[in-house]
Subunit: 340 residues, 4 copies
């Protein structure tokens, strides 16, 4: 009944997920680990009581691996996901599904050829209580048809290695996925505006950025991405509909009154903000596997769309122009399940 | 059409009301001032372009005084209010109406003998937007019959001259009046509990205090009075009814996010908290006078009840016992108008 | 000491201001009224105890008129304001200062030729507590240099006579003025995006609209104008700076818990939202007049800028293009005072 | 490495915990179940893949039971807990530890005789994020020494079987435990006040009740228990200290604006409110067991104190008097660990 999982990539996020699957999620066991750094693989495997494999292919092929978790370097994702599909094994791939839309399409095609959904992509926000409540409110019709979404994604700071295109590829990608899901709609064009830049950033960086998206149904989305906002990690989302609006709550925190002010803490980084969402994401993934069901989280098609839209957004930043995404209609194969 | 007002007492609160009547409230003019300190009277009169009178009696008798405002030392209130009633002139008296219940009853009787309401007592909270909204919600039946009220009255600090009985006489008196009005009910007993005392106080003081009131209808009120709370001026009130509750808002203030916290300012003292209520209080008083109507604010009866209840509460602090207030039924004379 | 005011235009807003100057604001008296509708003028004059004049010119010339308040139909504003300047009398003009930028410039030039500020334009938001707190926070440096401002201006509904360009000319004009003042900056370009339209609107209308402004210092402003939002009147503003952000509060209102929800009322329309700001606006205007000072509220230059920017925004809606405002540098004459 | 747990009592709460240990908590396995109702035991055991035992004694003795979870009827708790101690097996007992203080003391003595902590009592609030944040704030010294705590515990409704003493025994017991822990203090006396009763209750019930507690350090606690408040499940707690206060947050929930109101949902019952706390409670318990550590949650001593204090409070309701608790000093054995 326990699902045996092989983990490809034992870096920070890989270790975190191994810990989660071992200590927090019932019904799962990490039985296999591989990493380009053998030492790191050995260490991670030891914690979990798992076996080390020389590479992804060997891990995927292992008898005691029921499902694969891909947390390696982005450019290697496609290879491992395709390998898992070829082996007929369920695979959970951290974002991005693949770094090129061509590779994403290969995965989409391979999965359809296999005939059954195997792939889930690691967009954890769909499992966050606040976004789920927001989706329920929209679905209930209380705020009417959605017309506009205002979002902000703020990080206190980023390392020097963070480049301007990562605002789309690594940061906005979370809003892009969750908004497609919230609105049950597709993003058809993207644009980036650069406000006055903050002085609190590495010189090469365009920060903040304002991204403007349009959906197939005409909804307009504005998203402030500000990765050196200094004051903390802050995620805002407000959907405005024909009859009202719904707004994401701030994380619950005690209120303190001292010295002339009422204050509540703002989280320092994202780890606390989406810890429950990560737990729920893996709990539901494992429960589906254990029950022999297809995954109900973000699909390969969602991973493909995210790669296309983030790429178009990075291009829009460079060109200063509105960039259409030209995403084809979702295949019937992904009509159900892909949108949980 | 302009109402000509004579002010007895030109101390801090008197000066503040003269400024208010001169600069902020339309339709009023301060024409006469008196004070035990002639210099202070002269200065205050000069600002308002008013005449100085040697004493309250002379001021009340002046032809250009349509109405009297009593802001002198508490023990002198009764004399001036009774003088104004004898002269048939409307009189606004800052709290307390009188320092003894006997004097309050004399005023109540004199006013009834006069046959028409002349007296209004300066309980400004009835004019605060928040309390008015709360009264509207209660009146609407949305929360059902009130059962419990939780209150807190916190000041950042008090001077050394502040004594333990002033927690009832000067501080809780505002809640006592506004709750009688909110609930349209009478307080029948009072009790005081002394929690662990704060170290941030003058040695002689019992601070904080928890006051427990019971009303004729059985509503229970708990009121925390904490006059050295350090962090600011903070007024809380929550009425719990059979179907729900209603809570006073904090004053509107911008929210600021910096350095890991979301914060809003807490007011440093009471002046900002009830500035609008004071304006409304005098605007409505002047408008009633100008229209030839009886005052609709707190009546002499309310002033009497407040003096009895605060006195009983001060006694309860000393005795440690539950003290009944034994307030008689409200006379028909005060049945309307006294509760706006 | 009382300032005698002549009111040109006795429609709804004129009557409201007459009431305000008569009943709420100390130190002012409405002595003269004129309106294109003689009946309406007579009625308004009667309430205030004022004299009726046949037209604006006669009213401006009247000896008992110290200052002029223009609340007539927009296209007539320029004529009356220029008339008041020619007569050397202070003039408060409801927005817009004039309906064309050419007329605004004539006023600006006439005032400069006069040599002293006479004109104040009726942008009341600068007198709102929330915006003033926000300006203080920005000025304090707590949030660092402003980079982005997010705004929303929502009305529950508008009449059939409301046209798409009024979203800029009549609605966004308030944000345009207050943001120039908040940021001490000029708007250099404007753009309008039309999201999916609400079904709850008259057919001819583009609603909602998203306006995007850029300032001389590079700040980017996004403003949602949604005049059929149904749920109430709602004004949002959040300024994001290099070190943090500051957000306008919602109006204080009691919280009510009943039937599975905690709720606070949203105002039905703008009257309650800015009632205090209107009071403060007129109180400060009258106080400046009484003291013989120049007005410190929005200047003719601010009125000119607003007309240019709203016109450019209406053009941007039609053209779908980014429209530069080409506002020249502010003349030294308006360097002080114009920005209070 | 997996902890094998035997569950005594397969009623609603037992089934819920079996589900939790099976589906949600990693590292645990329910291997044994017993219940007075054999059918119910069989069904619960089947879900978990566990074995049914005829009674608690047999279950405790089973080789494949590493630790015992007691969720049977309250009066049977003592027998099973003492059985587990006698067998030297860790035991988690849902509240109450025992229904009499005598039985609680027997457990305390048996555990001390055993020489090592085996017992944890099921007070889940200590594991709630909000309370933990509050304890951190108090411990940090930010609000100074605690002086007063204001609490409310409201349920939408209770069944006819709920009696007046259950307000203390079943409802307030949670605040009693969590406040002892929050304040690191003991409750020395208790008193109950009955406000006007709600009409929305079964006739026999005293509802609401206001409980007043005093601690050894002089902190005063007021707790409103209102189990037919109608509007939802609502837990409030505010600790007032010498320098400021800290207040429990409401659960995070999306804000919705429609039809003239901003609203957030209030939870219908307690299940959602403390779901995360239950998870954390069992996760930490299991982690301690797996690591061979003593439990760090509420101790047998805490269970004893809660039984004494709730009993005294039920007595105070009946007698109308202040009832001392006469709890002896905490034995050194419970000095560490008992207060996590």
């Amino acid at each position: 009944m326990t699902v045996r999982i092989g983990v490809i990539g034992a870096g920070w996020i890989g270790q975190e997920h191994i810990r989660r699957l071992t200590e927090t999620i019932a019904g799962a066991q990490v039985t296999a680990v591989t990493d380009i750094d053998a030492e790191r693989a050995a260490q991670a495997a030891k914690t979990a009581g798992a076996q080390v494999h020389p590479d992804g292919a060997a891990l995927i092929a292992a008898d005691d691996v029921d499902a694969v978790l891909v947390t390696s370097w982005g450019p290697t994702h496609a290879e491992h996901v395709l390998g898992a599909i070829a082996a007929g094994k369920p695979v959970f791939c951290e974002k991005p599904l693949a770094t090129t839309s061509e590779d994403c399409l290969k995965i989409v095609e391979a999965e359809q050829a296999h005939g059954r959904r195997l792939v889930q992509v690691g967009f954890m926000r769909r499992f966050d209580q606040g976004y789920r409540q927001m989706k329920d409110v929209i679905a209930s019709g209380r705020i009417g048809t959605p017309l506009i979404v205002h979002c902000a994604h703020r990080n206190a700071t980023v390392p020097a290695s963070y480049t301007s295109d990562m605002a789309a590829l690594d940061t906005a990608v979370h809003e892009i996925d969750v908004l497609r899901w919230l609105l049950d709609d597709e993003i058809v064009s993207t644009q980036v505006i650069a406000p006055r830049a903050t002085a609190n950033k590495h010189e090469h960086l365009t920060d903040p950025q304002i991204m403007l998206f349009e959906t197939a149904k005409g909804v307009r989305i504005d998203l402030e991405v500000f990765v050196n906002c200094r004051y903390g990690y802050d995620i805002q989302c407000e959907t405005v509909g024909e009859e009202g609006l719904v707004r994401l709550p701030d994380p619950a925190a005690v209120g303190v009154r001292t010295a002339g002010a009422h204050s509540t803490a703002v989280l320092p980084d994202w780890t606390g903000r989406f810890a429950d969402a990560f737990d729920t994401e893996f709990r539901e993934w494992v429960a589906n596997l254990a029950a022999g069901n297809e995954p109900t989280g973000p699909s390969a098609w969602d991973g493909y769309a995210a790669t296309v839209i983030t790429g178009a957004t990075a291009e829009a930043l460079t060109s200063g122009r509105i960039v259409p995404t030209d995403i084809p209609n979702r295949p019937a194969f992904y009509a159900t399940g892909g949108h949980q």
